[in-house]
Symmetry: C2
């Protein structure tokens, strides 16, 4: 069954994966066409979900008053969390632009509703968290589809879920999973901002792959791939 | 910045999204080339992560004794969970093939390690779960990359995380997020198995999109896209 993707189609997937960025700045004023936004949402809706439960909802937001409330929550949480970091990293952290809530034309809150098709969902009874994991897969589909359309996306995780719940009128059983800011951008950065700024390095692939069990960095059965991963530090 | 993907490259992404399946059967005996497996792992490693924490690890498994232990755990959990369903759905549930642990050449356990670059990770202090969410994004990258290479992937969530911990020697602070089975397949099904079998229907996109707040199914500012989503029931 291999070979049903052309080289260019394959490249499209890898290009989206490697050039996708968490975007917080450089949004242009160009609105997102309805057709394109629909395409992106539909890609998200076709993510895998445990027991085919499709437990996600996408709340589209462009109300300025809603955005302002979320932005306030962001500012509060950013200040609060900065107390966890010592100088000089604290000042560096505070200097980063970490959201584009008001600058981006469309915000989307992606939520998890465990009550859909429930209570029994195939595959969810042993590890209930797999419901939320499904929603994260939808976010990643959305992100990659947006990238191919030239749309930047930033995931804002510095905010209070309580504020999200109140502002978007979420029922108690629904979990806000992701708050996303979308818009066309002037450019996509070559590297993640936190890498370029020297905040953290990208790990080598060899540092995140183990063989047969935790922390086992080599294994006779995996010799060849181990050598390939160890010696080729840049595949992207 | 839109327009940096050719139509065929864009199609590649959407084709992967729409033809990706959770695969539990039809694995062939063809081994996965090391180079292809490395490409797929590297795509996973380039997922977004909160504060660039890259909190994932990929444990590659082909040991038959490990696979057998995981398969035993699957059988036990499947039987246990079937007691939650009443007949006739119980028999239907038990008749489904839900894993390809022993049939697939490569299993991968994807884990979350919150201690990487910690304790302070940018963006993780308000919503600590975002660490695990990053790992799920990596799983989805892995899944889509595998699909473009003609490799089927099945996520086994009917198992005990305790068994995974013991078998793979995971330290207490590490969370097993996904147990994946990979291999070339004869074919990818047109639709998800649980849809074809009539277990659950695919929701329409209009049923998962809200406007400005929870359960708001229309809004003056979103009239046009609402109409587009309402009337076009199949975009894929």
């Amino acid at each position: 069954m291999s070979g049903d993707f052309t080289e260019e189609e394959k490249n499209g997937l890898y290009k989206a994966v490697y050039s996708r960025r968490d975007v917080r700045a450089h949004f242009t004023s160009e609105p997102i066409e309805d057709k394109i936004l629909t395409k992106i949402l539909n890609a998200a809706h076709h993510a895998p979900s445990v027991g085919f439960s499709q437990p996600w909802n996408f709340i589209l937001i462009k109300s300025t008053s809603t955005k302002k409330k979320i932005k306030e929550s962001f500012e509060k949480e950013k200040t609060r969390s900065s107390d966890m970091v010592k100088e000089p990293r604290k000042s560096k952290y505070l200097s980063f632009k970490l959201e584009g809530i008001l600058d981006s034309p469309v915000n989307i809150c992606v939520t998890y509703d465990p009550s859909k098709f429930g209570p029994f969902v195939i595959g969810r009874s042993s590890i209930p968290e797999t419901g939320i994991y499904s929603v994260c897969c939808a976010v990643q589909n959305l992100w990659l589809a947006a990238r191919t359309e030239g749309i930047g996306l930033g995931w804002v995780s510095i905010l209070s879920n309580e504020t999200l719940r109140e502002t978007l009128k979420l029922p108690d059983h629904v979990v806000p999973v992701a708050y996303l800011c979308l818009g066309y951008v002037d450019e996509f950065a070559q590297k993640p901002d936190l890498e370029s700024s020297g905040w953290l390095p990208r790990l080598d692939l060899k540092d995140v792959v183990y063989y047969e069990k935790w922390e086992q960095k080599d294994s006779p059965e995996w010799n060849q791939i181990h050598e390939m991963i160890r010696t080729n530090l840049d595949y992207a």
